[in-house]
Amino acid sequence: MSASILEVRGVTKLFGGVAAVDGVDMAIEPGSITAVIGPNGAGKTSLFNVVTGFEEPTSGTVEFQGEEVTGLQPWQIAQKGLVRSFQTPTGFPALSVWENLMVGGSDARGESLWAALVSGWRGAEAATNERARRLLEDLDLWEVRDTLLADLSPGDVKLVDFARQLMVDPVMLLLDEPASGVDPGSIQRLSGLIRRVRDQGVTVLVIDHNIGFVLGIADRIHVMSLGKVISSGTPDQVVKDPTVIEIYLGRSA
């Protein structure tokens, strides 16, 4: 086993005395798809928020590529290549599909006030546009590139979310419920996309409620309940774990 790309050590997040995340340790292998599952309120999204800098942990540390990122701002963590999505379909509603991708793919220099006022932006835009075009064609979204995100179906907004994140050229993706709100027929396609991104060398950490979807793509699964990781292993190991069956899969197993 190679050195982990993301290392979460003893992370606790208290909200007024309630531990949303309670002493979580987690090591993610590079080039893997890892899933975090667990019932509502298990602390999955809070863990994401701590890892990506949106919440500061009460205690514990987060290391990304061997470098401590605890306490950094979200934009600093994202610039290191750790890019997350959000649960609800999001993005920039007043921008077109194409503009949403371009924002993801543009760097701070091209987007600076100086470039806008003085030095121009044509060169950087042309290169970013090439990447956006390839990705949009790939996702069958090229035809709707000039449609505002606000006018798109929720399923397509999810796809644009995913594409916008890829435009950042991430080292690791954190996907918060990518399959929620996606129609069953498109889930296969989403799984394929996530696998392909992994095959290109991007590490993926995914939270989802959809057990079928998660079991289908994950190399490794961590099960959370009440802020703690209660079980970890391959999909096969996890579904056979009696604790997991009891508290989480109990209803369907």
């Binding site: 949106f54 600093q76 924002v103 987007e111």
Partner: protein, 314 residues
């Protein structure tokens, strides 16, 4: 008859000044999402610094360095930019309604300072003896036409600048994080720095425009910079179409011409008192009609930035 024409020239000049203010407000509020209710304060800083630094006589005031007009205008712009920086750093940490309150309070503080620092601002009396640029070139009423041309030339310049900013990656990012700051940050964007830069740029521009307003009104007193300036600018922007490109100019032109026309009627008859209040009725009516039938404003963001992908390919 010529009186009526000169009055109309004045109205169109004032509309141009408000068009510039509304374009700057559109940058910070329409695109960057910073709902500034203190723009009158920034214009006041620019106007006062300009008039104080260009004063030559020490009568009543302790500071009258007598700088040339261009230096005074630059000083006014810089002072307003610095004021924006000083209020921006603390107030941009809070969002939404808190930003509104902070900026509104700032404008009132500036107004109170202009009243109470009598030894440099001449208090409520203010300034009314000062020269204006190119006054030697034309005489009497000709100067009104000159000021009209000057103001609308600057409207055009600011419009071209705003169009460039709006279509740039910088403008696109502003319109993006305005609606969703967390997603922008999750993509590695330092959104607070962009906000502060934009707010300071708006401050510099409000300060730079202030001399035009001062030359048009021909006096500088605290009553010129009340929140009415802020609210007329906001109304013009909302009527014209917030976050669009042409909206601020269209809105300011329609609003000022419609409301000042009431003032023209007022000058003609004995019903002055009645007609003075008509101005506000007209203003409200225009706003209600636009909001009812074109809630996005006469121009809109959607059309202004349509087919953005084709601009790169072209």
């Amino acid at each position: 008859m010529s009186g009526v024409i000169l009055f109309l020239v004045g109205v169109v000049t004032l509309a141009g000044i408000y068009a510039i203010l509304a374009m700057i407000l559109n940058l910070e509020a329409g695109w960057a999402g910073m709902w500034d209710l203190g723009l009158a304060g920034l214009v006041a800083v620019g106007g006062y610094v300009f008039i104080i630094t260009t004063q030559t006589t020490h009568e009543d005031v302790i500071f009258a360095p007598g700088w040339p007009m261009w230096a005074g205008a630059i000083a006014g712009s810089l002072a307003a930019g610095i004021a924006a920086l000083i209020i921006g750093i603390p107030s941009l940490r809070v969002r939404g309604e808190y930003f509104l309150i902070t900026t509104l309070a700032f404008a009132e503080v500036i107004r109170q300072l202009s009243i109470n620092l009598g030894t440099i601002t001449r208090g409520t009396v203010g300034f009314n003896q000062f020269s204006r640029p190119f006054e030697g070139l034309v005489s009497g009423s000709g100067y009104r036409w000159l000021l009209l041309a000057l103001v609308w030339a600057i409207v055009l310049l600011v419009y071209l600048l705003m169009r460039r900013l709006g279509h740039s990656p910088y403008g696109r990012l502003l319109r993006g994080f305005r609606d969703n700051d967390p997603v922008a940050r999750s993509l590695g964007k330092h959104t607070n720095r962009h906000r502060l830069q934009t707010f300071v740029l708006a401050g510099l521009m409000y300060g730079a425009v202030a001399p035009l307003y001062v030359w048009f009104i021909r006096t500088v007193t605290p009553s010129l910079f009340t929140s009415e300036v802020t609210f007329v600018t906001w109304t013009a922007l909302v009527i014209g179409g917030i976050a669009s490109l042409r909206g601020p100019v269209i809105g300011a032109a329609i609003l000022l011409i419609v409301t000042e026309a009431a003032a023209l009627a007022q000058g003609l008859g004995e019903m002055a008192v009645v007609l003075a209040s008509v101005r506000f009725i007209v203003l409200g009516l225009v706003l209600i009609l636009v909001m009812r039938f074109r809630p996005e404003g006469l121009a809109n963001e959607r059309d202004a930035f349509a087919n953005a992908s084709r601009r790169v390919e072209a």
